[in-house]
Amino acid sequence: MELYSLTPFDLALAAGLVLALGLVQVLLGLGLFRTLALNSVRMVLQLILVGVILEAVFDAATLPWIALIALVMMALAGYEVVARQKRAIRGWHGYGIGLAAMSATALIVTVLALTFVIETDPWYTPQYAIPLLGMILGNTMTGIGLALNNLTQTAWQSRREIEARLVLGHSVREATAELRSDSMRAGLIPTLNMLAAAGVISLPGMMTGQILAGTPPIEAVKYQILIIFLITAATGFGSLVAVQLGARRLFDARDRLRLDRLRSGR
């Protein structure tokens, strides 16, 4: 089966549906039309840009170029992690914790998968490396963002409970045990949902894409299983690293709870 190439008319038809949605919202006075339109345009531009860049990178396929793309993806993901938190940790620490957690997991998991599992030649073959990193990074970013958001929000709300333990001579480790395990759980919830829903409630995007492109379903399924395992590992370890680093940053060297290191709530 050949991949059917979409024409601009096909895309315009799909866009027409979103336009119809926008019009209904205007009629109902919901006031979401602007946001919907802006974000739709933004999505189209971003994807076209990515398409152009990927074409170029696939042609060049040199390690420095691919490393640069990976770096930009990581930097943007690091920014998103901070942007999604109501009371993110202030300054470079807040950004750095998310970035460190993602580098330590998403990047390593991707490289391991490329070198030991898929064994592409060279290992950084962009057709594999970039989509793989993208999928793992996207999920890890969501997980880490949720975990850190839970950590900072809960610490803010349970200041009295945490300090009640500190004044009784409990260590930071003891005083934050529950906070840390709850935050890690929060980071893993989307992944756990994905594991439960995969194939039954939702057909994963990558698998769908491969099947559309003519791959036999069972081959597509094998890749999907691989990806889901990689995502789960990267998200779980990523949340773990982020929560440990973040929890430490909530306290200073004298084990004082330093909520002044969090941004004020938005």
């Binding site: 349970s158 009295r160 409970e161 945490i162 300090e163 009640a164 333990r165 500190l166 004044v167 009784l168 001579g169 409990h170 260590s171 529950e178 200073d252 004298r254 084990d255 004082r256 709870l257």
Partner: protein
């Protein structure tokens, strides 16, 4: 000297110096919002501050924060409860005699924190701190939510503890009768700083 505070100051804490002998209570008074509670927090090393604080000659900053807080125990005005039942907040069951003196029902030990009255919480928070056998108690209006009989029972227990253990207390109180009963010196906190009143 049991407890010495020299040139303490910090964000929202006016400059203050004082010293405390074994068995002594230093009442603290001052307008609300002037920084009395914030001062107690710095004494427990719970907020950043400057100045020198020492316990029996040992500097606060040379001791681990956890060791310091076990010996210089803060009882905040509003107590925090992190677990479901009362018992989970105590390392071990406190002395039966203390429990009875504060007129707490025996059944409270296993009951959920949620069901406690504010007065019961306050009394249990003091017992929780006493269970550590601290050398210095930092008390932020420990009798604020108690009726007169219970407040007297609380003050009596605290004074007995200080005498029996040779411990000291820095005691914020809005009740002048309660404060006057405890000693001849008291510390006034103003926005310019701390002023010691009474016999030197």
């Amino acid at each position: 000297m049991l407890f010495e505070v020299k040139d303490l100051c910090g964000p929202n804490v006016p400059p203050v110096s004082f010293a405390l002998d074994a068995g002594e209570v230093l009442p603290v008074r001052g307008d609300s919002g002037v920084g009395k509670s914030q001062m107690l927090r710095t004494l427990a090393d719970l907020s950043p501050h400057e100045g020198e604080i020492s316990l029996e000659g040992v500097q606060q900053q040379s001791m681990s924060a956890t060791d310091w807080r076990r010996q210089v125990a803060l009882v905040p005005a509003e107590s925090g409860w992190w677990a479901d039942t009362v018992a989970e907040h105590f390392p071990s069951r406190p002395l039966e005699a203390w429990w009875e003196r504060l007129r707490l029902r025996a059944a409270l030990w296993d009951s959920p924190v949620e069901r406690l009255s504010s007065g019961e919480r306050q009394r249990l928070a003091v017992l929780r701190a006493l269970a550590l056998e601290p050398r210095v108690l930092l008390l932020d209006e420990p009798t604020a939510n108690l009726d007169r009989d219970n407040a007297e029972a609380m003050a009596g227990l605290l004074l007995d503890y200080l005498r029996d253990h040779g411990a000291g207390a820095v005691w914020i109180s809005h009740d002048p009768r309660e404060v006057d009963a405890h000693g001849d010196r008291w510390l006034e906190i103003t926005s310019e700083g701390g002023v010691l009143h009474g016999a030197v």
